[in-house]
Subunit: 328 residues, 2 copies
């Protein structure tokens, strides 16, 4: 079978591709385990650094997700599964509303339609986000049954994606699943336009010996998940039996609710003797305002029942990053 | 100022146009009461019967709401308000998914973009529906804070519309409001493709001396609202101060939760000596299946706070229909 990962050259896309290649098999549209012989990493721009850890089964395709013909061309086999990760991120969507609608909504519809055009209702896992929550009516803890009142265009398009995943699945066009992700840490590389970018930077820059300017206060609370658990969760959600998911295909992923202060403490504990760059506070009202609209804790009963993993502590997340990206 | 009503030649659109013409004024983009000197009733098809009760201020435009240029042409003044009622209905959307996406989602985006293109963030009232609720996770009573898990494509597009109304408003593109309607009764004329069509037919056909074949059981419970209250509610929601609405612009409209048996009892009570056509039961599994996904009762605290009206009883609804359409 073939796997298509949109947003495939991004961090999670690459890690997911590696994990699928290592695993070798996924549940195909037949319902049986099938060998993955091709994996396409589709993205909008060439990766800034050459992709590593892939093999001859993997192919990178660069293009515009709003180009319907191109997207249909990616799904050129009926034995296909899709991980739809491509997205304009939160901060980027606030800066360019039209781009967020074009990429996230129209691009998302292209991916759904391309999957619908295949025989056998392919499995499709959509990356949603806790940014579907927000606003004055948001309860302190959000979860699988909380009303969605997003306060960013990014969150709105993710909420729309969840609705469409449910309806395309109900109609039998696809076998859809949506992974509602907390902030994923620790992302290597450069900061991005996501308002949550600092939650990786606060670990990454000091470990690189570089200074880190925090845009938010130390007592800011965020639900976070390690990238290893996020990738394992994507695959577990893909593999889950349709009956286990029912008529609401979005699963609130597990998370750890932590303060920025706890992030820094975990960094110092795990870093040991490593020299660390300095962490300073440089308030960014635009970032702080977006982060303030997000939930501080989540309920994830369905994810637990489906066996989706979460790290035991922030320390585990820091250790994994050092192992995968600094000591490797 | 100008008023544009999409779906304007439908029953609610016509009644709303008449009510606005009689009233003469609405709150314009300036925030002050302005005289309505033009009202455009936009719809997809010519009305089956000539429209009555209008005057020289009213104009009918027929066209395709998916035609962006046409929709932009309707909103040709900055002093404009929009009531966006046009929609493929529930049963119709289940029969033609692509049409529901094209008209409800893409057409809706055209209306939002046309309003955004005007200066001054025009007021825009969107007709949503209780069909945004449904599925296995739906509580017995739904309301302003209930998660939306629609089980029809119609409901999905209405839920998406609510999200977009909130975001276009948050961005300052429009001053949007969404009216989440229960089943509106008693609609005159012919049955339509809405799965709820029988809830008007059970009154209308017998009062016409015609037989009525009920597709659902007598103990089926539905939240209903009389059309007079629905129209008054649309106008009250348009007139509400932005501060009274906050960051979630959808208001669950009030309703009476009644059984089909109670509908028939009210009909018999109010009809008095009028001869009534026979009511029989002809189960329609497709209709019953859609209706079964809808909530049976609603909570409408916000509507109450905004002063949106609801009839005291079904009897009032039957009396209004006889007065407006049979005795007139």
């Amino acid at each position: 079978m073939k796997v298509v990962i949109t947003g495939g050259t991004g961090f999670i896309g690459r890690m997911l591709a590696r994990s699928i290649l290592a695993r070798g098999r996924l549940t195909g549209p037949s319902g049986a385990q099938e060998e993955v012989d091709a994996i396409t990493l589709f993205d909008a721009v060439e990766p800034p650094v050459p992709l590593t850890g892939l093999d001859a089964r993997a192919k990178v395709v660069i293009g515009d997700i709003a180009d319907k013909d191109l997207v249909f061309g990616l799904l050129d086999r009926d034995d296909v599964s899709v991980f739809h990760l491509a997205s304009v991120v939160s901060g980027g969507g606030e800066k360019d509303f039209d781009l967020a609608i074009r990429v996230n909504l129209m691009g998302g519809l292209n991916v759904l339609e391309a999957a619908r055009a295949r025989a056998g209702a392919p499995r499709l896992v959509f990356a949603s986000s806790l940014a579907v929550f927000g606003g004055s009516a948001m309860p302190a803890v959000v979860g699988d049954t909380t009303k969605q009142t997003p306060q960013t265009t990014y969150g709105v398009t993710k909420s729309i994606g969840e609705l469409l995943i449910n309806d395309y699945t109900r109609k039998g066009f696809i076998d859809g699943r949506a992974a509602r992700l907390p902030t994923i840490v620790i992302r290597p590389g450069r900061p991005n336009l996501a308002a949550s970018s600092f939650a990786s930077g606060v670990f990454r820059e000091p470990l690189d010996g570089a200074p880190c300017a925090l845009p938010v206060k130390l007592d800011t609370v965020m639900p976070v998940l390690g990238y290893r658990s996020a990738v394992a969760g994507f695959i577990a959600l893909h593999e889950a039996a349709p009956e286990a998911l029912g008529d609401d295909r979005t699963v609130n992923f597990p998370s750890l609710s932590v303060t920025v202060e706890e992030m820094i403490a975990a960094l110092r504990r795990v870093a040991g003797n490593r020299p660390l760059g300095e962490i300073t506070h440089q308030p960014d009202p635009a970032i702080a305002a977006i982060v303030a609209t997000w939930p501080v804790a989540t309920e994830f009963a369905r994810a637990g029942a489906l066996g989706l993993p979460v790290e035991d502590s922030l320390d585990d997340i820091v250790r994994a990053y050092i192992e995968d990206f600094l000591d490797a």
